[in-house]
């Protein structure tokens, strides 16, 4: 069976930043066109500053797109343009359908690793007992040692952080996962583990777009690879 259901279609996306002081326009990306099918994995590569993260942040709406459409096939809403959706709709989608993962930790103070993962479910209005069971299963799935579950993650290594970030994003079972250089600063052994995890997620029909500086390593996982150069798709 061929997979043909589109989950995301980006057309003519452009983003620039206007910095009032000193009065400067930074062109970050333009003419971005791509289509992601359900269950597919798109890899994005390119030099630092090329505009890769900007694309993912526009999809996540941490950045306001200037031009273009980002049509996402939402389970709850049907096709919805993420570039124009209301703030409340975006919050709903982030809570239920779209996950974003980077190498950086984004944890509230005084929150343990397990509480952090649970919080994603509490945001979905799941009860404490139910979310605890699911959070533990997810931490186990991503092989975060049980001895770390009750600890504040500020002291975690890069690999532990990433596995926690993945657990936090995946516990809500998003249909679309955005990965911003998840393997940056990981040792080879941990990278291999992450690749296995991403393969498994793909096997479970999660659609993903991921930025990787060492894309060779993701060979066999990517269905399409886009090379971004000076804000445009070069190949």
């Amino acid at each position: 069976m061929t997979k043909t259901t589109e989950i995301l279609r980006i057309t003519n996306l452009a983003k620039s930043f206007y910095l009032h002081n000193p009065g400067l326009v930074i062109e970050s990306c333009h003419d971005i066109n791509l289509t992601l099918l359900e269950g597919e994995f798109i890899g994005i590569v390119g030099r630092s500053g090329a505009g890769k993260s900007t694309i993912l942040k526009c999809i996540n709406r941490s950045y306001l797109p200037m031009r273009g459409d980002i049509i996402y096939a939402s389970e709850a809403f049907g096709p919805i343009n993420l570039a124009a959706a209301s703030e409340r709709e975006i919050l709903y989608l982030r809570r239920h359908e779209i996950g974003y993962v980077s190498q950086f930790l984004n944890v509230m103070p005084r929150t343990t690793a397990k509480e952090h993962v649970m919080s994603a479910l509490v945001d979905q209005s799941m009860d404490a007992a139910g979310s605890e069971v699911k959070a533990e299963a997810m931490l186990r799935y991503f092989q975060l040692p049980e001895s770390l579950w009750g600890i504040y993650p500020a002291t975690f290594s890069g690999g532990e952080r990433l596995r926690l970030n993945l657990a936090h994003a995946m516990v809500k079972e998003p249909r679309l996962l955005l990965l911003d250089e998840p393997t940056a600063s990981l040792d080879n052994k941990t990278k291999l583990l992450v690749r296995d995890i991403l393969k498994k997620l793909k096997g479970a029909n999660t659609s993903m777009i991921g930025i990787f500086h060492d894309i060779e390593f993701m060979e066999g996982v990517c269905d399409q690879v886009f090379n971004i150069n000076e804000g445009r798709i070069a190949s």
Partner: protein, 280 residues
């Protein structure tokens, strides 16, 4: 719009001015030095504020001192009557009636059952010489309860939720630290399960470690009660930690609003960019 939600609170065009206004300043924001009319001296403490608070969300309002944040909160809590504007609550007359035109009995009912307020200055929110428990009991009685036994139970439960040990229930807040006073105010504000909690600079002036505790408490309250929160702070770090959406105020007006991470990562206005850059 795909999501069909009814806001808990909708404010339209809230304007609070001190002074009569004149032809140079009415209905226009030029000819002013910050919020003050150069011609007549009228202060436009808030000028045409409109916003919606949705169920279960934390809406942050950030802005420098004097931008009109407290004025907005105190107008909502009926501390004074605004010059213009309307506000409706989902839980009062099905959102059909401007709360600023409600009878004073209805306004008291709203204060006791629909909204809870935590003032920046605890003196405004607490009776400093009554015990912590009586402060809460007073609020419960105001909402119509007469059962003393239930009241004590509820006071214990609320103080426990804000981590104040029951052994200190009968002490007066004047003996408490600033952080504890804020926590008593929070428990008092929650006493009658309001749909909307108004928090004005709850952590301002507290030690960092105490701040962290209060922020943590607010997070727990949100998760536990699913309450909507209007959170006012001059401190972007507090907003970053708690708010789903954020409004930026300057000189009495809203200059920008958006998802909190978008406001922080991709601020549009010059003032917001300056505010964000001073955070890092």
């Amino acid at each position: 719009m795909y999501l069909n939600e009814t806001p808990v609170l909708s404010i339209r065009d809230l304007t609070v001015r001190y002074g009569k206004g004149c032809s140079a300043c009415s209905g226009r924001a030029d000819n002013r030095d910050k919020n003050r009319c150069i011609a007549c001296g009228t202060v436009w403490a808030t000028d045409g504020i409109s916003l919606d608070v949705y169920p279960g969300e934390v809406l942050g309002i950030v802005g420098e001192s004097g931008s009109g944040k407290t004025t907005l909160m105190r107008a909502l809590y009926f501390d004074f009557v605004p010059s213009f504007g309307s506000a409706v609550l989902r839980d009062y007359e099905d959102g059909q009636k401007n709360i600023w035109e409600a009878s004073s009995a209805a306004q008291r009912m709203i204060k006791n059952t629909v909204m809870g307020m935590v003032y920046q200055n605890p003196v405004l929110g607490l009776r400093m010489n009554y015990s912590a428990a009586s402060n809460i009991a007073e609020k419960i009685i105001a909402a119509g309860s007469r059962n003393a036994g239930q009241m004590t139970g509820r006071a214990m439960e609320l103080l426990d939720a804000v981590e104040i040990s029951t052994s200190r229930m009968s002490e007066a807040p004047k003996n408490f630290s600033g952080g504890m006073q804020q926590r008593v105010q929070i428990s008092k504000a929650l006493a009658n399960n309001p749909a909307l909690l108004l928090l004005d600079e709850v952590t301002t002036g507290l030690d960092l470690s105490v701040q962290a505790k209060v922020l943590d408490l607010i997070r727990k309250i949100k998760a536990l009660y699913g309450i909507s929160i209007l959170l006012v702070s001059h401190d972007l770090a507090v907003i970053r930690m708690l708010a789903d959406r954020t409004i930026v105020m300057l000189d009495g007006a809203i200059i920008e609003s958006g998802l909190t991470d978008q406001i922080l990562e991709d601020p549009q206005q010059a003032y917001t960019q300056q505010l964000v850059h001073s955070l890092i």
